[in-house]
Subunit: 428 residues, 2 copies
C-alpha cells in the first residue's frame, strides 16, 4: 500500500495541468497521477476538436480561456514547444434572429475592446462559395435551415493539438519529479474516519469521515488529498460516495473528410482570414454544425454538439455512428457548402463530453479531502491551464488563483456552494 | 398501440396526485397511469416514514406542505376517508450551536404567527427520561455526540398513512374514469419528430422533436403528454433522452422496534404533547436520528437520512442493513434514550429517496411534451397534493397553481430554468 501527498485520477489535459501546477508550487510533494489508459490524454482529450476561442460574454469563460491560450502561446513561442497552435480564427455564421439577439452582446464586447469583425452574408458567399440564401431550396426549408445573415469573425481563436498540450504537461510534471501510473483503473473512492476508533466496518455515519485515496485494479493508493479529474467518469466515481458534481457524459463524434476535390481544397485554403491562409473554424447556423480546418493535413473535421434527445450515457468505448454523418451532418453541411457534395469521411472518432448541467462551466470544488476538477463541457482544452491553476489554488486554500498573465481569479466562483457564474450569451 | 392524452409514469403518491388533479379538471381526457409494481404506492411511497410538518423557513416548503396537509385533513375530516393522520407534532432536539444558529429563523417564523413551542432541556429530561447531558459519557464524547440544549415542538406536524393517501388518490382517479395499468415497466421514452418526414430513423438532430410516449414491456403507449413521476427512477429514464432533472437516488432505511418493555412503552405514550397521548415525531441532535411514534401499533420507527459517504445508487430492491441499525442508529439513540437499551428491530425496510441535489425541493418542469414531477427529497408524502396541483397547472400552461385553500403558487418556482427557491434554514 503506497501513500502519497496527492493522487490525481485522470491523466487527461485537466488532470495533468492540475498535477503540473501543484507540483510546480511544491516540488517536494509526492504527487501521483493514475489513468486507466496506457498513455496521457487517451480519454476524451484525444477525441476533442482541439479548438479555442477567447471571445465570450461571460467573464469566467473569457478569463479561463484567454489566460490558458496565452499560456499555450507562451509555451509555443517562448519555450519553443510546438503545440501546433494556429490562430486561424472562428467564423460564426448567424441567421437573422440569432444575430439580432447577439447584437447587443457583441456591441458590449466591442466597447470593452474585445476584438471581432462582422461580415455581410454576400461577402462570405463570394469569399467562401457559401450558400447564404436557402429560400429556393425546398428541402432546406423542410429541414428548418435558416439563411446566413451575418458572419462574426473572432481572430483570437483557432486550433491547437490536444496531444501536444497533454505531452507538454506530462513531461514537465515528470521532470519536476511527479509520478504517473498508466493502465491503472480506479474502482472506488476510499473513505475512512477522520478519527479512527479501530472498530471493524468504520466509518459509521456518526463519525466524521474523509476520502483517503482510491482503490485501483493494481491495489490501494492512499493520499492526503485525492483529486478527481476523470472527465466524464467523475460522476460515476462520486456517486459511490454520494457527492453531486452536476456532470453528465454525452457522446461527441468527429468525422474527418479529405479535400481531394479542387473545390473543397480551395475552400480549406481560403485566404484573407488569417496568416495560415486557411478557412477559420466555421460554425453554421442552427443546428450549428461546425467545420474545423486541419490545413497541415489537408482535411476538415466535421462535428455537431448534440442536444435533446441524445442520451447522457457513459460508454467505455464510444463509437461514431454512420447515420450521424450521413443523415445528420452531411445533409445540413452540403446545403451551405456545396463543395462537400458526395464527401464521405475517411475516418471518424467519438469521445465523451463531460457536460456541466448547471451552466456549462467547469466545476472545481473540494469536499472531505476530495478535490474535483472537471465539467468543462467541451471547452477542456482551451481552459485546461486555468482550471489546473484554480485547482492548485484550491489545494493551497487560497481565495484567488493567479492565472497566466498575473490575472486574479476567485477560486470559489467555480465551486458548487458559492458558485458565481454569469450566463454565457455567446453560446455556440 | 394505444394512444392517450396523458400517460403518467409512476403510481406513487406524486404520480397519482398529479393524475387525479388533471383528471378532476378534465374528466374527458384519456389519462393512463402505469407502474411496474402490482399496486399503488409500492415503490418509495410504501417505504416512507410517513410524517409531516408545516413549519419551514422557506416559503415554497411551507406552502407545499401546509396546503397538502390541510387537504389531507379535509379528506379525513370532511370526506370521512381515514388517512390515519394524527397531529402528534414534531419534537426537534437541538444542541446549543444549532439552537443559536436557528434562533433568528425561529423568531422570524414566530413573528409571522407560525406556531412552535420551545422546551428547556431539563423539562424534556423530566418529561421523556431523555439524557440531555452527555458530559460524563466518554463513549458519547468519542462519538462526537452533543448535549441537548433546547427542544422545539412543532404542533402542526405528525404522522399519516402513506398507503391511505395513495389509495385515496387512486380510487378518486378511477372513479373519474382514469385508467391504471399495474405490472407494466417503462423501458424507454419515445421521441418522434414534431413534423415527421417519413424518413427511416428520424428524428435527426436537425429536426425539432418531442416525447411521444413510452415503450413498456407490454408495448408502446403513445401520449400527447408524457408525465414522469417515477421518483428515484426519473433520472435513469431522462438520461436516455439527455434531460437533466438534478435528482439522485439514495437509500432510506427504517427499523421498527416494539415497545414490549415498560420503560419504552411509557416513552411511546408520553402525555402532554398532543391529544393522541404519545411522544411526538422526535429528532435527536446531529447526526439527527429520528424516532417516529406508531402509537396504534405500539411501536417506534427509527431512521436516519444519510449523507456523505453513502452512495447515490439506484437499486431495484434496496435492503436494510443490519449494521446500519446496530452500529449506527442504536449506538446514538441509546445515549439519549436509555429506554431503548438492548432493543433490536423486529422488522426493517428500505426504499429510495429521490434527492434533488440543487436545493432539496421538488422539481416540476416540462420539456418537449415531457412533464417531470419529482425530487421531493424525502418530503413526497407531505407535499404530494400540492405537487400534483402544480403539475396539473403546468399541464394547463397556467402561470399560477391554486393549492388547497385557494393559495396561489407560481408554477415556474419549481421549474429548472426559472427556479426560485429560498434556502431552507429549518433543515432536519
Amino acid at each position: 500500500m503506497s501513500e502519497y501527498d496527492i493522487v490525481v485520477v485522470g491523466a487527461g489535459v485537466i488532470g495533468l495541468s492540475t498535477a503540473y501546477h501543484i507540483k510546480c508550487r511544491h516540488p517536494n510533494l509526492k504527487v501521483l497521477v493514475v489513468d486507466k489508459f496506457n498513455a496521457a490524454g487517451q480519454g476524451s482529450t484525444a477525441k476533442s476538436a482541439s479548438a479555442f476561442r477567447c471571445l465570450f460574454s461571460s467573464y469566467v469563460n473569457y478569463m479561463l480561456s484567454d489566460s490558458s491560450v496565452d499560456f499555450y502561446i507562451y509555451v509555443q513561442e517562448k519555450m519553443n514547444v510546438d503545440l501546433k497552435l494556429s490562430k486561424v480564427g472562428y467564423l460564426w455564421l448567424l441567421c437573422e434572429d440569432d444575430y439580432k439577439e447577439l447584437n447587443p452582446v457583441l456591441r458590449d464586447l466591442a466597447s470593452k475592446n474585445l476584438n471581432y469583425k462582422e461580415y455581410e452574408a454576400d461577402e462570405l458567399a463570394d469569399k467562401l462559395g457559401l450558400v447564404v440564401h436557402l429560400a429556393d431550396d425546398e428541402e432546406a426549408e423542410l429541414m428548418g435551415l435558416k439563411d446566413v445573415y451575418k458572419g462574426i469573425f473572432i481572430p483570437k481563436a483557432g486550433i491547437v493539438d490536444a496531444d501536444c498540450i497533454v505531452k507538454f504537461y506530462e513531461s514537465e510534471f515528470l521532470r519536476l519529479g511527479g509520478e504517473i501510473h498508466y493502465g491503472v483503473k480506479v474502482e472506488n473512492i476510499l473513505v475512512e474516519p477522520c478519527k479512527p476508533l479501530g472498530i471493524p466496518d468504520e466509518p459509521f455515519f456518526w463519525q466524521e469521515s474523509r476520502v483517503s485515496g482510491v482503490k485501483t485494479d493494481a491495489g490501494v493508493l492512499k493520499a492526503k488529498k485525492t483529486i478527481l479529474a476523470a472527465g466524464a467518469w467523475i460522476p460515476q466515481l462520486l456517486d459511490t460516495v454520494g457527492i453531486e458534481c452536476f456532470i453528465k457524459p454525452r457522446k461527441r463524434q468527429i468525422f474527418a473528410v479529405q479535400t481531394n476535390k479542387p473545390l473543397l481544397k480551395k475552400l480549406l485554403f481560403t485566404k484573407g482570414f488569417n496568416s495560415a491562409g486557411c478557412i477559420p473554424f466555421t460554425i453554421l447556423p442552427k443546428p450549428r454544425i461546425y467545420a474545423r480546418p486541419f490545413p497541415t493535413e489537408g482535411v476538415f473535421w466535421l462535428s455537431y454538439a448534440d442536444d435533446f434527445p441524445r442520451a447522457f450515457k457513459l460508454e467505455e468505448n464510444p463509437q461514431p455512428e454512420k447515420n450521424f454523418y450521413e443523415c445528420g451532418i452531411y445533409q445540413v453541411l452540403v446545403k451551405y457548402f456545396p463543395q462537400f457534395k458526395d464527401c464521405r469521411p475517411y475516418s471518424a472518432f467519438a469521445g465523451l463530453y463531460e457536460i456541466n448541467t448547471l451552466d456549462g462551466h467547469p466545476v472545481v470544488f473540494e469536499e472531505n479531502d476530495l478535490l474535483v476538477a472537471g465539467g468543462a463541457s467541451g471547452s477542456g482544452i482551451m481552459k485546461a491551464d486555468a482550471i489546473g491553476r484554480v485547482a492548485a489554488a484550491l489545494y493551497e486554500g487560497e481565495k484567488y488563483a493567479l492565472l497566466y498573465g498575473d490575472r486574479k481569479f476567485k477560486v470559489s466562483d467555480l465551486s458548487i456552494k458559492e458558485r458565481n457564474i454569469e450566463l454565457e450569451k455567446l453560446q455556440i
